[in-house]
Structures are given as structure tokens and as C-alpha cells.
């Protein structure tokens, strides 16, 4: 299969283009183009990639046309269209901007020239003395570049490895590029193992990203969390094979930031000074092999059980759940509704699940209520008010929460929780406002509510006996059911749920009212908090201003002191001047007189 790839002026393929082709065993990629070797120019020519290059064709067998340009695997960071950080670090004199003739451009030009020169005859070792005559500039700098390029095996790697290659056989870290003619600055640098691994999911690959230089901090703070690319890769390959030693790493591996798929095992990472360590990220695989983010019911249950028994010891929790990582457990628990309550209380997992389902229906409900648009338009909750009545006068928060917490209805639970956050008066006001809003919107509900209300309309407390309540509820349900087709499945489920409970039978309206109340309460609470925050800000601002003033004051004081000192000095200097003048006069007088005398 041949592929035609357009190649830029730089005459090279981006490094990650290795992902473009599935590659067979040891054969590397090929980039060949008819190139005018004499002029050593790079063309905008389409490059032919010979993917099915005969893998077993070593250099020696391929007579004259097929010449292999290889570079070592540890130099795979190299890319001829840009200057890598490693190069910047190794040859800082070109990048400090202090010289006219030592510029990155000159460096790149020289480097590319040397490499291209080598590629003209890769079977022959290139010498410095040969290169020297062709490049303008300080010979010492040219030698530095040459040595550097040679050190990394970008040139003369083939010849240096010739003998080694024979001994070891085909198994070597080198990537081979059988070519028909001289490549014009084209190279692909993936060790074959990585290529194999990646070939299974070629769609994942794109050109490698921008140079990303993480600090050590980044690397080690991330170490506990699952690296996304790492997990992706695991999904692809199933195991982590070190590109250096070929060992399959189970638990920990280091991943190259720039070239995904380049992986090192821990031993190679610590031993290898050839690699730029900043380029690699520690990735820790976490236990199990299954890494889908979907939580089954059983998993949720075991998670909650584990939390109940182990508390905050997430390692134990994760091990008990088994199929999920620590981070995933934490994340999921955070996402669970009523997380706070579960932390404190003793709640059955079952009710949790129902509460989850009701949260869903709650959402739908909210949509159905068609947003009584402003949150300020607050709504009512009979349950709440009932409880307030029970308590005879404004109760403290804990007490108010308790009777409601008993309620088996999850929405009311939530309302109770939310309303517990605000004071009783705020809650009452919220309830009142919500009643009004609902009445306006829905005359039937208004009827119902006004029937329930008249006894204590002015007062905050609204009574309704549980009997009344249930009756009304039934009525209301029928009416709303006939009228509103849109209150469909989930809501009914909720209704069914609630009707099954004996004491309280909240209707749709009630639920709506409850939600509205809750929202109102929250809004009120938010307002309170905002006010408090504002006061706090003002207070801090005042403090800042005060301090600024103090600072200015002390500055002024300092200046005054200085001025004073200056004055003193001035006086002293003047006095000294006078003395000196007097002295000189006396001296000249003396001279004069002595000369005369």
C-alpha cells in the first residue's frame, strides 16, 4: 500500500505521522522521494511511503539503491522542522540572542545541512573536517553542532552501529528506513514496538502536540491520578511495553508527553540519562483492568457499604469496590446526591438510589413548572409549614430539620435540607411568595391552596391536617392528571411513590410548591451570604485604605526627618565653608605678610 503525502518545505514528516500507517514488524517507515542529491535541496514533492517495505532486507543485502537511514530510538525527539528543547539546552550559545551570527536559524541550518549531507551517503561516516569547509562560521561552534548531532546518532549512527548490528542481528533499537534514493530530510522515528502497539488503533493518533514542558511538580502531583492518555493507551494496547527494554510494565510507567505512545518502564526511566526526564510523566495504573466509567448498581451499593465501614479511608474503599479506582470512587461519591447527609448519617443505599431517581424526576418537574421565572418568586411547602406549626413557634434548625427528615419523600427531604439552611422567617416568606406565584399561574392550585390556607393566612404558619391533606391531594391529582398530559411518566412514578406513603400524600402542586420553596429559600440564603460577603469586602477595603494611609503617614514622617537631617547637614556644610574661607584668607594673609617680611 502506498500513500501519498504532501510534505512541507521543511521536507519532513511530522514525527507523529507514524500513526498514519499500520506497520508490520520491524520495518520502519519509508519516505522516499526522487531528490537531487547534488544540490541538496528539499522539494515540495509528494513523498511516497512504502509501508510494506521488505522488512528482512538489511542494508548489506540491498545492493545499491536501498540505503537505510537509521537513527537511534533515544533520539526520537528529533524533528527536522523544529528545534527541540534538548537542543536548546545542550547548545545554549545559539539561543541566548547575544550574537548576530549565532542564531537559532544558523543552528538549524547547520544542523540540517550536516544531517542532509550524511543522508547523501549514509553508508559512509561523515567527518567533521569534511563538514567544516562547507559551513561558514566559527569552527569551534561548527564542531559543537557536529559533535552534538553525532552524539545523538542523527548522523553516523549507521556506521557506528554496523558491527554491533551484525552481532545483535535485526533486534536493535534502531528504526530502519529502507529507501530507494536519498531521503530529503525525511524521517520517522518510532521504535517498531510502539508502532505495533499504536497500529491497533490508528484513528487515535494525530500529529504530536505543541511542545509541552512540564515541571517536576506537574509530574509528581499528577502521579496519583489516572492519566487520561495513559488509560486510553492501556485500553488500546492492554499492557505497557517499555520502548527501551521491552518489558511489559504492569503498575507504573512513564509516558512521553510529546509523543504519546513512547513509554518507559520505571527502571529505564531512572537509569536513562539519554532521555529528557521532563518529557516523561509518571502514570500509575490503578488496580483493575476495567476502566469504564459506568457504575453498576452493585458497584454503587458496595461503594456505599465500603464507605459506611471504612469511612474516609479511600484506599480500603477502593479495594472493597474492586472494580474502580480510588479516584473514581471519590469522584462518584462526590457526584452522588445527598453526599453530605450520608457522611454524617446512617442511610440505606436503597433510599439513595431512589433519591437518585427522584432527582431525575425532580429535574423534569422543574421543567414542567415552567420556571416561575424569578427565583425571587418563592413558593410554598406545606410540609415545611406543618412542621413549623408542630414546633410551636420558630424552632431551632435542628429541630426543624428532624420532623422533615423523617419524611420518606425525597424531594421533601431535599427541601427540608435546603430550608434548614435559612432562618424560619426567610423560609416562611419564601413559602408565602411561592404560594402566590403558583396561585397566579394555576387557578386550580390556587383554589386548593386557598382552601387549605384561610385559617391562618396572615400568620406564617399554615395548617392543614394530614387528613385534609390527603383528600385534597387526591382531588388535585385527578384534576391535574386530566388537565396536564405533560406530567408524564417520571412524575407519576413520583406520585405513585408518594401516595404509597401513608401519612403525607403530596400532590404535584405540592411538589412544585416544595421545590419552589426550596429554591426561594436558597435564593434568600444566597442573598444573605452575598450581603455578608459584601460587608466583609467593605470592611477589608476599609482596612486596606487605613493601612495605605498609615503607610503614607509614615512616609511623610520619614521625609520630614530626612529634610530635617538635610537642613542640619546644610548648616554644618555652610559653617565649614565659612571656616575654610576664613582659613584660606588667613593663610594667604600669612603668606603675603611673610613674603613681604
Amino acid at each position: 500500500m502506498d500513500m501519498m503525502l504532501p510534505v512541507g518545505v521543511g521536507g519532513c514528516l511530522p514525527a507523529a505521522s507514524g500513526g498514519l500507517l499500520p506497520v508490520s514488524d520491524t520495518a520502519g517507515l519509508v519516505s522516499t522521494s526522487p531528490v537531487d542529491a547534488q544540490t541538496n535541496e528539499t522539494h515540495d514533492s509528494p513523498i511516497k511511503n512504502e509501508e510494506d517495505a521488505p522488512e528482512s532486507v538489511p542494508v548489506q543485502e540491498a545492493p545499491s539503491e536501498k540505503i537505510t537511514y537509521r537513527i537511534p530510538s533515544y533520539a526520537e525527539w528529533f524533528s527536522s522542522d523544529k528545534i527541540h528543547f534538548i537542543e536548546r539546552r545542550a547548545l545554549p550559545e545559539f539561543f541566548d540572542g547575544k550574537s548576530l551570527s549565532r542564531t537559532p536559524k544558523v543552528y538549524k541550518e547547520s544542523r540540517d545541512f550536516i544531517i542532509n549531507k550524511y543522508k547523501e551517503q549514509p553508508e559512509r561516516a561523515l567527518t567533521y573536517t569534511e563538514i567544516r569547509k562547507m559551513l561558514v562560521g566559527d569552527v569551534n561552534l561548527i564542531r559543537k553542532i557536529f559533535d552534538y548531532v553525532e552524539y545523538w546518532g542523527l548522523i553516523n549512527f549507521h556506521t557506528a552501529n554496523e558491527n554491533k548490528q551484525k552481532e545483535i542481528g535485526t533486534e536493535s533499537g534502531a528504526v530502519q528506513f529502507p529507501t530507494e534514493t536519498i531521503p530529503s530530510g525525511i524521517r520517522i522515528v518510532y521504535p517498531s514496538k510502539i508502532l505495533r502497539a499504536k497500529a491497533q488503533k490508528p484513528s487515535k493518533e494525530g500529529p504530536s502536540g505543541i511542545i509541552n514542558m512540564p515541571s517536576y511538580m506537574d509530574i509528581f502531583t499528577n502521579s496519583n491520578l489516572l492519566n487520561v492518555t495513559g488509560s486510553e493507551l492501556t485500553a488500546i494496547t492492554g499492557s505497557q511495553i517499555c520502548s527501551n527494554c521491552g518489558i511489559d510494565n504492569q503498575s507504573k510507567w512513564f509516558e512521553n508527553r510529546e509523543k504519546e505512545g513512547s513509554i518507559l518502564c520505571e527502571a529505564c526511566f531512572t537509569a536513562g540519562d539519554k532521555f529528557l526526564k521532563e518529557d516523561f510523566t509518571l502514570v500509575e495504573s490503578v488496580g483493575g483492568s476495567k476502566r469504564n466509567s459506568v457504575w453498576t448498581k452493585e458497584e454503587v451499593l458496595s461503594l456505599l457499604e465500603a464507605i459506611a465501614t471504612h469511612g474516609n479511608n479511600w484506599d480500603d474503599v477502593a479495594s472493597k469496590v474492586g472494580t474502580k479506582s480510588k479516584a473514581e470512587c471519590i469522584m462518584y461519591f462526590m457526584k452522588l446526591p445527598f453526599g453530605d447527609q450520608f457522611c454524617n448519617g446512617n442511610v440505606e443505599p436503597d433510599s439513595l438510589i431512589t433519591s437518585r431517581s427522584t432527582t431525575d424526576s425532580l429535574k423534569i418537574d422543574q421543567r414542567n413548572t415552567n420556571n416561575n421565572v424569578e427565583f425571587v418568586g418563592v413558593h410554598d411547602n406545606e410540609e415545611l409549614l406543618e412542621s413549623v406549626e408542630d414546633a410551636e413557634g420558630p424552632p431551632n434548625k435542628a429541630r426543624r430539620l428532624n420532623p422533615l427528615a423523617d419524611s420518606s419523600h425525597p424531594i421533601l427531604d431535599q427541601v427540608a435540607f435546603l430550608s434548614a439552611m435559612v432562618g424560619p422567617r426567610v423560609a416562611a416568606a419564601a413559602a408565602h411568595a411561592s404560594l402566590l406565584a403558583i396561585s397566579e399561574e394555576d387557578p386550580v392550585a390556587a383554589q386548593f391552596l386557598s382552601a387549605a390556607q384561610p385559617s391562618q393566612k396572615e400568620s406564617i404558619q399554615i395548617t392543614s391536617t394530614s387528613k385534609d391533606n390527603s383528600k385534597m391531594n387526591e382531588e388535585q391529582k385527578e384534576e391535574t392528571g386530566s388537565r396536564n398530559e405533560q406530567n408524564s411518566q417520571p412524575l407519576r412514578a413520583v406520585d405513585a411513590d408518594t401516595t404509597s406513603t401513608k401519612d403525607h400524600l403530596p400532590s404535584t402542586t405540592q411538589i412544585r410548591a416544595a421545590i419552589a420553596t426550596a429554591l426561594g429559600a436558597v435564593a434568600g440564603n444566597a442573598k444573605l451570604l452575598a450581603d455578608q460577603e459584601e460587608r466583609e469586602t467593605e470592611h477589608l477595603m476599609a482596612i486596606i485604605l487605613e493601612n495605605q494611609l498609615k503607610k503614607l503617614d509614615s512616609k511623610v514622617q520619614h521625609f520630614e526627618e530626612l529634610e530635617h537631617l538635610l537642613n542640619v547637614e546644610h548648616v554644618y556644610v555652610e559653617r565649614t565653608q565659612t571656616y575654610i574661607l576664613a582659613d584660606s584668607i588667613r593663610f594667604s594673609n600669612f603668606n603675603y605678610t611673610s613674603r613681604r617680611g
Binding site: 548576530l100 544558523v106 547547520s110 573536517t129 569547509k133 559551513l135 561558514v136 562560521g137 566559527d138 569551534n140
Partner: protein, 264 residues
């Protein structure tokens, strides 16, 4: 020559005082002394921070190793001492920092090997290493004579030293001996031309490339010639004759100079 009052040890990173513009502050020493018809010629590098006593030790050792007459000891010591002192007299001066690319030329014969070369050398690059350069050259050209490398390195050092001296001695009386001035005069004129051309190229065309023009490659390529024994002998004889003529001329020069200065 005046005694060295300045002590050495100019630090590369902090100071810009005069020193060899190379990584190692080694100065080239050339010895050519004669005693009763016996001639001793040698070149080597010397660390100017070495103590004075070391010079005598070195001279004694050399004389002993080479079975020379004992009278050579003071001659060698004086010769080294004079050259070290000359270097020290510059040490207090400031060097011009920054890039100064000069064209260095090699044209030397070591035993039977003649090597001619030309290359650009940045005088402002204090990381340069002539020895390493020479070693690399010999390796790449497969020169087997072990004396070639040191000779090349020495030639480079000598030129660098002269250039460095030239750069600090403007505004100060040039202390280069007449002999060396005569020897290097040609090269200086050429190298300065090369520098200006190089600078010009850098400034005028922004498109200038780090790659040299193809037709210039040959000028900057080292040329090596291996002579036969006969050729070497003939050459040595000629050199000897030339050297004698030169020396006679120098003596005459000195005579004139002395007479002239006395008249004034």
C-alpha cells in the same frame, strides 16, 4: 622585559582581562636557542599561572632528557621566562568582548607532512579548544604522525595569541617583536580582509546562509601532502638557508634601528 607584576588567574566567567581566547589559558612558547653551534628548537604550551620555579625545573629536565649541554639551561629558562613575562604584561588589560571571527591559516610542515588549511575562528569564543580541533583534524584526515596534532594546535594558539595581543595593544605600544611581526604581517592583512568580508556578508544579506558557497569549499579544505625523505631533506636545507639569510637581515635591521635611535 619588565618583570611580571600582575599575577595570573584571570577568571573566564567574571573577568574580561587579557587571556588566551581558548578554554584553557595556555600560552604558546616557542624556543629557538643556539649554543656553540648546537641548536635547540621546540614549541609547547605553558600555563602562565605556573610558578617561576617551574620554568627552571622544566629547563633542567629538558636538557637532561635530551642530553644537551648544561649551558642550555639558562638559555631555555630565559627564553621561556621572557615569553611568559610578555604575556603577563598584557594580563592587566581588558579584552574586547564579543564575536570576532578571524580567518586562521595553517601552513606547516611536521616531519614529512605538509598541511595547509584555512578556517574561521571566533576570538570571542572562550570555549574553543585548539587541541581538540587538531586531534579531530588528524583523526578525520587519518594523519598518523603523532606530532602533527600538537603542531597544528600550537600553530592555532600562536595565531590566536597574536590576534589577542593585537586586539588589546591598540592605544598601547605594540610589543610584538619585529621578527614575529614580519612573519605574521601577511596573515594579518589577509585575515582582517576575511573578517570584514564575513561581517559584510552577515550584515548586507539577511538571506545569508550558514552554508558556504560551493565554489569556496576548496579554499577552506585542509590539504595534506606527504613528502618523501628526499623532499624533506631538500626542504630542510632550503629552510636552513632561508633562516640564515633572514637572521643576517635581522641583524642588519637591528643595526639600523640602533643607529637611528642613537642619533635621536
Amino acid at each position: 622585559m619588565k618583570g611580571g607584576t600582575h599575577h595570573g588567574g584571570t577568571n573566564k566567567s567574571t573577568s574580561v582581562k587579557f587571556r588566551m581566547p581558548t578554554a584553557e589559558n595556555l600560552i604558546p612558547i616557542r624556543i629557538d636557542v643556539e649554543y656553540e653551534g648546537q641548536r635547540f628548537k621546540d614549541t609547547f604550551t605553558w600555563n602562565p599561572n605556573e610558578s617561576e620555579a617551574e620554568i627552571t625545573t622544566f629547563a633542567k629536565r629538558t636538557v637532561k632528557d635530551l642530553n644537551l649541554a648544561v649551558a642550555f639551561i639558562p638559555l631555555i629558562t630565559q627564553s621561556i621566562q621572557a615569553q611568559v613575562n610578555e604575556f603577563r604584561s598584557y594580563e592587566g588589560l581588558d579584552m574586547i568582548l564579543g564575536e570576532r571571527v578571524h580567518c586562521l591559516k595553517l601552513d606547516l610542515r611536521v616531519n614529512s607532512t605538509i598541511i595547509r588549511d584555512q578556517f574561521l575562528w571566533d576570538l570571542g569564543n572562550f570555549d574553543s579548544d585548539p587541541e581538540e580541533f587538531a586531534r579531530c583534524l588528524c583523526k578525520d584526515l587519518e594523519l598518523e604522525d603523532p606530532e602533527v596534532g600538537p603542531a597544528v594546535a600550537f600553530a592555532i594558539r600562536e595565531q590566536l595569541y597574536e590576534l589577542a595581543v593585537l586586539s588589546v595593544s591598540s592605544g598601547r605600544e605594540t610589543r610584538i617583536s619585529k621578527k614575529s611581526r614580519r612573519e605574521w604581517a601577511l596573515d594579518f592583512s589577509q585575515s582582517s580582509k576575511a573578517v570584514s568580508a564575513f561581517e559584510l556578508m552577515k550584515r548586507t544579506s539577511s538571506k545569508s546562509s550558514a552554508v558556504r558557497k560551493r565554489n569556496e569549499w576548496d579554499f577552506f579544505e585542509p590539504i595534506v601532502e606527504i613528502l618523501t625523505r628526499e623532499e624533506v631533506e631538500a626542504l630542510e636545507a632550503r629552510e636552513e638557508r632561508n633562516a640564515r639569510i633572514k637572521r643576517r637581515q635581522e641583524d642588519k635591521d637591528d643595526l639600523y634601528v640602533n643607529r637611528y635611535s642613537r642619533e635621536r
